[in-house]
């Protein structure tokens, strides 16, 4: 039977088991929206800015391991998706973005709300399509979902001219895709795995760096088996947090620019790095020339192009982490590495890296730790970018698999609120904490309307220091405290919340922190806490830009702090 392009799209989305679409409509996508209302199984969540749709779909995809879907109209609508698509691309999040486009006859004529959006999204998508007829639509959707979720997952964009949406064609949803140029590798090469096992079995001081690939492949058990069987300590990249329980005796926390001092020391001293599902991002490695100088490197990744891109690798294994570890674990010998583990534990004692000062002032670190205590780690933590993100990463010990959502690669301020929304929609039965900065919060603040309208019960913790805090910290350390344009005038966030009919409290004293957190958790629905925190608190440890992991700066001792911060001293 013949169907319109809009119907074919909706039927195809149903075939792909899509449950939620985040989007906003406009002229060039009206036929799709008109048809969408006839498909109640496709829940549409009307966001208030397209960037929010893309971030929500991205976070939804991360926490459900399904493909997230966002939708927008042509021109400005599509262009507003771009940051969100770029974010999903950098963090390999499977998203299908669908945009309306002007009718075919108008393409290339600078029509109203026309943008060459496939030209724009080309370098920030895994693949994209400008659909030229309704007849090719079903195949396109099938391919888009397949490409988005398989191999190294990522965003795929489908641009649909308005008249393709109304054009009729036979609807047959293809059973298989035909993509001769796309054959992701899932199984690791056996000879490479054997080589890796030999290196692991002979290493004196091996170290696992677990990245987001472990979470995407849901290889928690396999990672744990490898670590426990051979007694190999595990450190994480930022997005690898929650791939390995932080309370495990073999867990030594995050590495990198704001990693634990002892974790960075482990990297610099290890003789064998087993990097699993991570891509040697510069925030994790610091300068690559002096990264892990004593180590040989085994790199397990599903994307062959990641091998050798940033650091030289001794044994590459291309494949899905779960499959590769499944085979590798059988060939790895039982081991103890007791001396190496003792060294790491000693370093951890000597360089605890995480200390929360006593006192009255509301410290961000304390807030994060109290959210952990109140939830006992049974929460999804979604962060913004900057100091709030780093404190969440450092002070929330992630023990529950796949419980951390953050913008790692692109570092998108404003990710937190729409992403928390998407995460909560994806896992409605779980507690979702949105850790926001006061700067980033205002970048996507309009999604409070979506949250209120849809009653999406996210708990929002604004770490309000009145600064673009991470930038301020760089100005403090590297620009002689010249705080150019980092001080923020903020609105009254309680009044903002009130306007959106979201209950909220403000916290100005440390002894109010815990009760506010419980108040938020006990409330059935969205809740906002404005934590007015110490304005010039810094994130430590820190590896200064351009330095190696060996030059990790630790939390300054109180005396040093007081010298740099006379204001703080006066008050305490």
């Amino acid at each position: 039977m013949k169907k319109t392009g809009a119907q074919i799209l909706c039927e195809s989305l149903v075939k792909e088991r899509v449950e939620v679409i985040f989007g906003i409509l406009g002229g060039a996508i009206l036929p799709i929206y008109d048809t969408l209302s006839q498909y109640p199984q496709l829940r549409h969540i009307l966001v208030r800015h397209e960037q929010g749709a893309a971030h929500a779909a991205d976070a939804y995809a991360r926490v459900t391991h399904k493909v997230g879907v966002c939708m927008a109209t042509s021109g400005p609508g599509a262009a507003n998706l771009v940051t969100g698509i770029a974010n999903a691309y950098m963090d390999s999040s499977p998203v299908v973005a669908i945009t309306g486009q002007v009718a075919r006859a108008f393409i290339g004529r600078d029509a109203f709300q026309e943008t060459d959006i496939t030209g724009i999204t080309l370098p920030i998508t895994k693949h994209n399509y400008l659909v030229s007829s309704a007849g090719e639509l079903a195949e396109t959707v099938k391919e888009a979902f397949y490409i988005a979720r398989t191999g190294r997952s990522g965003p795929v964009h489908i641009d649909m001219p308005r008249d393709v949406q109304t054009e009729e064609a036979e609807f047959v949803y293809p059973a298989k895709v035909n993509l001769p140029g796309y054959k992701p590798v899932f199984q690791g090469h056996p000879a490479q795995i054997r080589k890796a096992a030999r290196l692991i079995n002979s290493a004196k001081q091996p170290l696992i760096i677990a990245g987001r690939g472990v979470i995407m492949s849901q290889a928690y058990a396999e990672l744990r088996e490898l670590a426990e069987k051979a007694q190999i300590p595990v450190v994480n990249t930022l997005l690898g947090l929650s791939s390995f329980p932080r309370n495990h005796v073999l867990s030594f926390g995050m590495i990198g620019m704001h990693g634990m001092a002892y974790a960075n020391m482990a990297v610099q001293d290890t003789d064998l790095i087993i990097s699993i599902g991570m891509r040697f991002d510069d925030r994790a490695t610091a300068i690559t020339g002096e990264f892990a100088p004593k180590a040989r490197i085994i790199h397990i990744d599903i994307d062959p192009a990641e091998i050798g891109k940033n650091v030289r690798v001794d044994v590459p294994i291309v494949g899905d982490v779960k499959n590769v570890l499944g085979v590798l674990n059988k060939e790895v010998n039982v081991n103890t590495h007791s001396e190496w583990l003792a060294t790491l534990n000693k370093w951890q004692d000597e360089h605890p890296s995480l200390e929360i000062r006593e006192g009255e002032e509301v410290l961000p670190q304390y807030i994060i730790r109290q959210i952990y205590e109140a939830t006992q780690g049974d929460a999804l933590v979604v962060t913004g970018v900057g100091q709030n993100q780093m404190w969440a990463a450092q002070y929330f010990p992630f023990i529950k698999p796949d419980s951390f959502v953050s913008s790692g690669g692109l570092g998108t301020m404003g990710f937190e609120l729409p992403a928390a929304m998407g995460a909560k929609v994806g896992r409605p039965d779980e507690m979702v904490w949105c850790v926001a900065g006061d700067g980033g919060f205002q970048m996507t603040i309009q999604e409070l309307a979506t949250i209120a309208a849809e009653n999406i019960g996210v708990k929002i913790a604004i770490i309000n220091n009145g600064y673009l805090g991470m930038v301020r910290q760089w100005q403090e350390l590297f620009y002689e405290r010249r705080y150019a344009h980092t001080k923020l005038w903020n609105p009254d966030f309680l009044k903002v919340a009130e306007a959106y009919e979201i209950p909220a409290v403000r916290v100005r004293r440390r002894d109010e922190v815990v009760s506010a957190i419980y108040k938020a958790m006990d409330y059935d629905g969205p809740f906002l806490i404005d934590f007015v925190v110490e304005p010039e608190e810094g994130v430590y440890p820190m590896v200064p830009p351009g330095k190696s992991l060996s030059e990790t700066m630790e939390l300054p001792k109180p005396k040093k702090v007081s010298k740099r911060k006379p204001k703080t001293l006066a008050r305490s």
């Binding site: 080309l122 140029g181 192009a305």
Partner: protein, 174 residues
């Protein structure tokens, strides 16, 4: 590491925007294209692209892998170290007077090139060969006054057994 010329041959799907995807990837990753030639292949629906890149060995490995990630790239091989035949074609319009015409024709003859158009004050020369041959001819003709030149860029195939067919393609792996 020293940058050298690498010859990469690709089979790509003959679809709208594929050339843009390839070119965009080179730009965005900062790879340097020396020449790019594209045309039909022996297989319907597939085109063959020959790209010459100036790169060091690690870079060319990245080029190859990144190109391989493009969905429309069906097969990619680095022919540089293979036994290949590489050719380019150039059309050279050279100034010619009654006194220089015969000398030009002799040079063209030596290079086994062809005169493909004769004008009142110029000749058009068609030459096929590797870049060195084209360069040499160009140098010799320079003193007569070169009016216009167009070069295709390198096209290449391996000798003997077929290397870039989609049916013996191997993606990914180690």
């Amino acid at each position: 590491m020293e940058a050298t010329k690498y010859t990469i041959s690709m089979l790509v799907e003959d679809k709208a925007g594929v050339l843009n995807r390839v070119a965009s990837l080179f730009r965005r990753r900062g790879f340097n294209i020396q020449s790019l030639a594209v045309g039909g292949s022996e297989q319907p629906g597939l085109s063959r692209m020959t790209v010459v890149v100036l790169a060091d060995p690690a870079q060319v490995e990245q080029v190859r892998k990144q190109l391989d990630k493009l969905i429309n790239v069906v097969k990619i091989v680095d022919l540089t170290n293979d036994d290949m035949v590489a050719r380019e074609l150039a059309l050279i319009k050279v100034a010619a007077t009654s006194s220089t015409r015969s000398e030009i024709m002799q040079i063209v003859d030596i290079f086994r090139a062809n005169i493909v158009d004769v004008g009142s004050d110029s000749l058009m020369v068609e030459v096929t060969g590797d870049e060195d041959k084209v360069d040499s001819l160009f140098e010799l003709l320079r003193r007569f006054g070169i009016k216009e030149v167009v070069r295709t860029g390198r096209v290449a195939l391996t000798r003997g057994a077929v290397a870039t067919r989609s049916d013996n393609k191997k993606k990914g792996g180690n």
